[in-house]
């Protein structure tokens, strides 16, 4: 099992999860974070920290696409180990659905 970051993170990118992760398994893209599934220890501490409910256990049905995406992008994005401010317009995207097309595959600053 692992936890995965899903669609609601896109363009919100709060990093409250990064502050609590004991194994630094979050990786940063330009407008989203992902979890490295082989580094995640399944401890669950990040799940309730996310203000936009973007972190889910992969045991939930229907997350296969997101699990693959987390694994793929964690392999190319830089690790992020310290919390930072979210994008200034994050609140505007909080309740937006169907954000997948807005996902940037560009790496973040890490």
């Amino acid at each position: 099992m692992t936890f995965v970051v899903v669609e609601s993170c896109i363009k919100c990118k709060h990093t409250d999860c990064v502050a609590v992760c004991p194994v630094d398994c979050f990786y940063e893209g330009e407008n989203m974070l992902v979890i490295h599934p082989d580094e995640c220890i399944d401890c669950g501490v990040c799940e309730p920290e996310c203000p936009v409910d973007a972190i889910r256990a992969d045991t939930e049905p229907g997350l296969e696409k997101w699990l693959e995406l987390n694994a793929e992008l964690a392999g190319v994005w830089p690790v992020i180990t310290e919390q930072k401010d979210p994008p200034s317009d994050a609140h505007l995207w909080k309740d937006t659905e169907n954000k997948f097309e807005l996902l940037s595959r560009n790496p973040g600053d890490g």
């Binding site: 609590v20 004991p22 630094d24 220890i41 399944d42 401890c43 669950g44 296969e64 699990l67 694994a71």
Partner: protein, 335 residues
């Protein structure tokens, strides 16, 4: 989906893992699930035995045989199991309270007998399951729910106790240092005889930060020395510090200050005497960097080697017990 298969090896059980979110125990469990499929042993030939405490929930979460035993008694239970089923790979999972207070003598004797079991001591320096009382490894001065004025006494040092018990394999690692912990667990599994591994484990509810010096990526290289057999003890973010033996003590020296690696203590995990290993075990933060890795790995006959009567059938053994009871200094108490 290859990703799912890789992150869910077949040693994972179907039980819901119940530790506090963020607990270091998750990291240790994660490494164990990763290394078990690489050891060449089938799940049905492995047994995990535990005592009482947060760490002792470990056997539930692996798809092997397991026993959640009584407080402190896991080494005794594991000794009996290995005695009767030498074909099993037997692990003990315990904590600082379970192993060093409630069951301390069981630990000592399992080690001195060199029972072929692998003992993992999750050291968080606190009683977590019972909500935060001081344990045998709590450092002096720590305010806990049972020491409101601060803990008064010096702690026990797990590695020193293992070495004093003549354990044939003694190592230390850190819960969240995945690479290092995986390597140490594999070494412990490969050892023939009693293997003792202390794992620094963060209890972020009742003793958060107890091992930050050894865990925090920004500082850990300056506060820990990774032991490598046959190599000098060099450490530091810049790899510019080392450990030197001076008389009967160890000291930290700066390598770019007239000292070279040739002046340093060279690690010998196969030394038959545990004297130097004891000195390494005594290195304690903040006075000294703390050692990680394998302090000692020597080959001595195991408990089963020394008492090789397991070929006797259970029935024959029962007869022998009866004969034993009925001979010699026995008597009947009259009415």
């Amino acid at each position: 989906m290859s990703v799912v298969e890789k992150s869910q090896p077949n040693f994972a059980s179907d039980q819901e893992v119940r530790w506090c979110p963020g607990c270091g125990d998750f990291a240790i469990l994660s490494q164990m699930k990763k290394i078990m499929p690489t050891l060449g042993v089938k799940p049905e030939n492995v047994a995990f035995v535990s005592g009482i405490g947060c760490s002792s929930r470990f056997p539930y979460y692996l798809e092997t045989y397991g026993m959640h035993g009584i407080h402190g008694r896991a080494p005794a239970i594991a000794t009996g199991l290995k005695r009767m089923r030498p074909d099993l790979q037997v692990w003990v999972v315990t904590g600082d309270g379970d192993a060093l207070s409630i069951g301390c003598t069981h630990l000592l004797h399992a080690l001195r007998r060199n029972v072929d079991i692998k003992i993992l001591l999750f050291n968080n320096r606190i009683y977590g399951l019972t909500k935060g009382q001081f344990s045998p490894t709590t450092p002096p001065g720590l305010v806990t729910s049972s020491t409101p004025g601060g803990t008064a006494h010096e702690p026990l040092h797990p590695l020193s106790i293992a070495l004093a018990s003549n354990a044939t394999f003694v190592a230390r690692s850190v819960d969240t240092n995945a690479r290092h912990l995986g390597d140490v667990l594999r070494r412990a599994a490969a050892h023939r005889g009693a293997a003792f591994v202390e794992i620094y484990q963060n209890c972020h509810i009742f003793n958060d930060g107890a091992f930050d010096h050894a865990k925090d990526a920004a500082v850990r290289e300056d506060h820990t020395v990774e032991l490598v057999h046959g190599q000098p003890l060099v450490f530091g973010k810049e790899r510019n510090k080392g450990i030197r033996l001076v008389g009967t003590d160890l000291e930290v020296v700066e390598l770019d200050n007239g000292r070279s690696a040739g002046d340093l203590l060279v690690h010998d995990e196969a030394s038959q005497t545990s004297a130097i290993a004891q000195m390494l075990a005594g290195m304690e933060h903040p006075r000294m960097p703390e050692v990680l890795g394998v302090l000692r790995d020597i080959d001595l006959p195991t408990h089963n080697d020394l008492m090789p009567d397991d070929t006797v059938s259970v029935a024959a053994r029962a007869d022998k017990i009866n004969q034993l009871l009925e001979t010699g200094e026995t008597w009947t108490v009259g009415g």
